[in-house]
Symmetry: D2
Subunit: 345 residues, 4 copies
Amino acid sequence: MIIVLKVGTQEAEIQQVVDAVRKFDYEPRLIRGVERTVIACVGDERMHHTLESLIVLPQVESVTPVQKKFKLVSREYQPSDTVIDVAGCRLGGGTFHVVAGPCSVETREQTLETARLVKAAGATLFRGGAFKPRTSPYDFQGLGREGLALLRAAREETGLPLVTEVMSPQDVDMVAEVADVLQIGTRNSQNVPLLAACAASGKPILLKRGMAGLVDEWLLAAEYICVHGNNKVILCERGIRTFEHATRNTLDVGAVAVAKKESHLPVFVDPSHAAGRFDMVIPLARAAVAAGADGLLVEVHPDPAAALSDGGQQLKPKQFAQLMAELAPLVQVMGKRLAGGTTPG
Amino acid sequence: MIIVLKVGTQEAEIQQVVDAVRKFDYEPRLIRGVERTVIACVGDERMHHTLESLIVLPQVESVTPVQKKFKLVSREYQPSDTVIDVAGCRLGGGTFHVVAGPCSVETREQTLETARLVKAAGATLFRGGAFKPRTSPYDFQGLGREGLALLRAAREETGLPLVTEVMSPQDVDMVAEVADVLQIGTRNSQNVPLLAACAASGKPILLKRGMAGLVDEWLLAAEYICVHGNNKVILCERGIRTFEHATRNTLDVGAVAVAKKESHLPVFVDPSHAAGRFDMVIPLARAAVAAGADGLLVEVHPDPAAALSDGGQQLKPKQFAQLMAELAPLVQVMGKRLAGGTTPG
Amino acid sequence: MIIVLKVGTQEAEIQQVVDAVRKFDYEPRLIRGVERTVIACVGDERMHHTLESLIVLPQVESVTPVQKKFKLVSREYQPSDTVIDVAGCRLGGGTFHVVAGPCSVETREQTLETARLVKAAGATLFRGGAFKPRTSPYDFQGLGREGLALLRAAREETGLPLVTEVMSPQDVDMVAEVADVLQIGTRNSQNVPLLAACAASGKPILLKRGMAGLVDEWLLAAEYICVHGNNKVILCERGIRTFEHATRNTLDVGAVAVAKKESHLPVFVDPSHAAGRFDMVIPLARAAVAAGADGLLVEVHPDPAAALSDGGQQLKPKQFAQLMAELAPLVQVMGKRLAGGTTPG
Amino acid sequence: MIIVLKVGTQEAEIQQVVDAVRKFDYEPRLIRGVERTVIACVGDERMHHTLESLIVLPQVESVTPVQKKFKLVSREYQPSDTVIDVAGCRLGGGTFHVVAGPCSVETREQTLETARLVKAAGATLFRGGAFKPRTSPYDFQGLGREGLALLRAAREETGLPLVTEVMSPQDVDMVAEVADVLQIGTRNSQNVPLLAACAASGKPILLKRGMAGLVDEWLLAAEYICVHGNNKVILCERGIRTFEHATRNTLDVGAVAVAKKESHLPVFVDPSHAAGRFDMVIPLARAAVAAGADGLLVEVHPDPAAALSDGGQQLKPKQFAQLMAELAPLVQVMGKRLAGGTTPG
């Protein structure tokens, strides 16, 4: 921590801050500048009480941490990429995976048809929502337990491992029985009891970034999972909320690149929620690959106009096939291998 | 819903949209403009499938809802102010209440001392966190169940009703046994299972706005509680996340005024989290009163520099007394009665 | 400046940074921490080359300034409030002024009628746009020079000093001949040649905050004017651009309070542009007073529905009179005197 | 325009709105819904007075435009890509150009050395700032006229056409004498007199998006230039200001894709300002290519640590060469030709 004192702070007041710093077991080092005195406080900031509360002292102008708060998720802690095995799919570490499927599972036919089609186009995992966090209570809330059964059927038929969202700690066991990867949605990105319950399941977890989440907060949410002993976390950028509404959210490709640099965890991107409109999904997907993402999460529906949720942003199977075709050479240029891609003959 | 078609859309394509609209039980009315055709779709938008997914049709340029999605929380539904009785305190409807207390309950002494001091200064409810949603897993996470016992002791000694946060559906019963008002925090503002579990408790609920939550989303979160049969909701603005970092969040006084206009529910403001720095709490509190708020939620700690969480934004008891003194005439000018204020002789 | 080095930086690499710091005439002081070495660099940051470019050195993790960049506008430089005399109106320092008038001057009748009405209601300065920075080239661009003549007529008839916007350095002389206060709009808040040209006119300047401007950037824009020898700057907050669209912009009352604390300059608020809707102007105006503003800038039009620009946010004269009536007791509670207010008999 | 009336509006009040609509020469068409009446107003919204001011009528709930305000820059107006010839470089339309050079021109050596190096690496245009819009008046403000002479020397030596910023209408002629492309910076993106003066020069114009500019506002700024008879506009996305500070701005790849869809103008990206840190420039540059950009604007300095402005985000020549090497295959995958790229033998 670096504490900057106000101009004109007297010796006794400096000493008061020094004493406060010592009380919290940091070692204070004084630097007397031209106008201001600065106190550098030596000590592990993660393991000590924060000194930020010293801002309430009238002679203190600012208190600035010098250490990142996350540890287990950092490249400093683990330089090499984490690779997560999901039923044989290896996420991270040079292979690029596309998770695809409908926003919500709605019917048996819709679920199975979509699963077959996305598999044929090259998706290696299947996604679909059974528990849906909707903005309005009058919107379709998902099929719940019945939806899980449909997902299981899709897995049985296609062999694709399942990614599905869980919204409540009480549902984790039930969802974990069916899901290969538990998804934590953007609205729950700092839902601490849910992070803990998902971590305890031992399952891989796809953690969406909060729509107003700083990269550091996103990594700290992942750290919550890791400190519970589960390091199988897939980070997923899905667009942040900004003033711009030409797209539903603003895809933050910089965050993808920063997360890849700061952390060893795989970083996926959800271009569907970032775009919020089907005609922008493909360009955003391409940008995600080029920014360094390890995979995508894409919404696909056999008949988007009739979808019970987020119809406007779901791709038709034909559009999804086009996406996969456009991705293949980009993934290759990025030095990665596209899992499930048809090998060019 | 208003559907705008693209320039040059042919008759057969117009008919295709008309048919789609009919399929979803809206009645389409065509308006042929100079360049574009517009289809006004008549029907209750809350009770029908949204037409927004029709944006995937190539001839559709835009789809715009004309109805607000919330109903039970709206002034259209209930013109008069909702007044919520909390152990004799009547929140909303012309009386102004100040809820005060520490960010976290830390020790018996700190809890009881703060409760006595804030009561003496005019607070009519006591707040304190036992379950704390912290950004980092290495930060103090609250005393949990033990914290609830300390809160109960504070209530017994001072008689002040309690407001405290609950983070997980599983904890609702335990917290509701002690709390007079359940607080749902900003990170859980769209945590649907938690909204439902709190609603089911029958307790009054203080609902913080999400840090990236639109006013409409905030009202819809309240609507979730109301549709579960509990209309005792207190809305609480606590600052939104913007590019500006001179304060921790940006207090949105416009949202307070809009919420008061659109909804009959009481609207409180938390200037402590909006400011994130103790020296800005009083001006933000004053602005909240002037914007039309019905009450405040203020953090107070006997020794903020030693606080285990958010020390930098907590007021000392003396500063809190000053806040109360500054509020009194403002509340009066706004035509409200300050509950707990010492009556001028 | 505080330079934090990466974990594991070797002695020779530390020395390299130390040398770079010395090259820029700062004095480096090393603090060796548990994991990291920190270099505190002593020297006046405003007068030296910034060290922020040292971030390009591979061993540097972060570079953080410790000094604010503004000086002449700061309370450190001048503790007492600046009071600006505008044709006998004293802005700042305990008197509260309301500047009112139409968004654009459109006709002689509209201009004079509005001037008479706002004066009668208690406004002490008249505003009106002759040069209009509009988003679209197809919108009304203002009457230009002809508009200035109408403003002059309004001044002659009512005696109210004039505030009007200037958009180009080339127009400063022409506008300054008529205006008592030059307004620099939000879109020009960092237009350096315009800041310099306005400063050179010697006129008082009302400086709007940029719609994405940090408080520090706003104060630095004012500093640009002051370094050109003109310290008659009135800061004006007008709402910032955020994700929320319930109001056109988000009025940042925290920025008002921070600017009042950091700077000695008067701080005004424009609730009309912040709200973007007439029905929210009064609550935002009240909040501005309570946050500590020294005055308001309010748009008033005799017939807003027919206004050539921003009709939706302009008050009718009757609504403006109501605003003035609501402000009077609030201004008094804030310990200020409302200029132009009718003295209660 | 679509006008939605409030629930319960009486016949006479409906007629009042209908009359107002007719007064502004739109043709009103009534749609009577279940709860609300909607008035669709037929007429060219660009050429008529906006009806948005009718929101001030008490019976009006909302007024929504159905037409985009821009015309000349739209794909509706001109479906095919605009290609702009700059001294033989054809920008837009399938060729990808990289503009590179220092943030500021500082010395003859620095300018010429950078120009030679970026040319050798494949840049086809040279950039460098002589007039610098800086946040603080104490920062380096550029060499001005002397800087233009250095740029001219670089052009003479390397043959690379020049892109340089102009900040004031008064300087346009002087800058246009040297520059091949006039750059309008983010702080001047809605500086109408500057847009007009640059348009009048007849030179190609590189128009940065405002840091809080909506895509629609960016296109309308371009429309301002086009209505002045100059359609040689290159749009340039440079990151927007959001709550996230891991990068200096948030590169909005969605805006690139939307602008390419809505407009026929070439769209460039400035990854240097978006990143604000040299280590993120390359991933953002790659993402820009993949999102569909037609070119890049990249800052390069022979010794960034000693740069007089923005040192932290400038690439060293070696890093720039790496960028060019990484771009080549990506540009090819996107179906474009990299101008100046060494043809693979």
